[in-house]
Symmetry: C2
Subunit: 209 residues, 2 copies
Amino acid sequence: MQLRRGDVLDGAMAILDEFGLADLTMRRLASSLDVQPGALYWHFPNKQTLLGALADKILEDVDAPVDTRTWDGEFLELAHRLRLALLAHRDGAELVSATYASRMTNARVRESFATAGRRSGLSREHAELASYSLLYYVLGHTVDEQSRAQMESAGALTRAALSPDAPHSPIAAYDEDLLDGDPVIRFDFGLSLFIDGIRARLKETTHHP
Amino acid sequence: MQLRRGDVLDGAMAILDEFGLADLTMRRLASSLDVQPGALYWHFPNKQTLLGALADKILEDVDAPVDTRTWDGEFLELAHRLRLALLAHRDGAELVSATYASRMTNARVRESFATAGRRSGLSREHAELASYSLLYYVLGHTVDEQSRAQMESAGALTRAALSPDAPHSPIAAYDEDLLDGDPVIRFDFGLSLFIDGIRARLKETTHHP
């Protein structure tokens, strides 16, 4: 039976979800699909393109049409969708961050931010810039939120990890508050700053045309 | 001669700068210092604490006193310092992002953002929230900026990486504009949205006390 591209992607996503990004290798994927590694390379010339396709799959519903009449509502909806899509797969935020930089994933989410920016009344140039700002904020937030959640559930975030035998450790001052607080409240606060910043810029343009 | 903690850190930073985060292993570090791996563990009980100490070293000058009288100038100065500190070492942004989530690095930079937020007139709670927003934005921006720059210099960002043999590839729509534009202009635009957002919030508090 011929190996289909979708089968490879499904297999890769299953490894990602169960074992995480570090364990997602072409060798392991081939073995889990019971094929020779060469069979994968017909669909994906290298691991980067496979990760790009996984990122596309993780993001595929984020830029669906938004049912709101306001530009700020559109930003909020898109940003929340993006956060949830990234959190829905183990290491999803890290995977998308890494592949975004590699150009191996599409830019539809960022472009949907830019479209919302245009709807707000921003110039094309500012809407593009704002789309990057929002994307970077959501990625930065989600990478941290997800790795903290995963480490917490793995029990790695304990003081025991700090050796009492290391006499000159400056690490005593690590962040006590890091795990406190609701990540959604934190996420929304940043979004509201971002949107208020756009609103201020629109007013400026109106007052000094 | 006894191996000092500072020697271990210097050796680790040298490997990071020359070969990158993926090649920074305890085994390789021990070998480069000409010691047995056990000698490292006296100073750093595991790799995570070593990475935390490296992150602290990368960030050590970021929160030095800022020579400005305005809170927005303080935010800008701190954010720019953070960006430059992260870009100064290969994979620096990725290393700090990862260790920040692990609680193995200190929180001084975030706290300096929170202090600037308090100076602006934000409540303690909002200043804390804003400090996370700014930190996440800077990390998200810098991780992407740095990996793109590193991939570009390695020649990895070429269309040749996309196989012409993969018939149903949806990757055709990857981001053409991704490498265009000045990253500093992009970075500053996001900072200005962030600062305008804080300013709007301060006005709100003043008008509706």
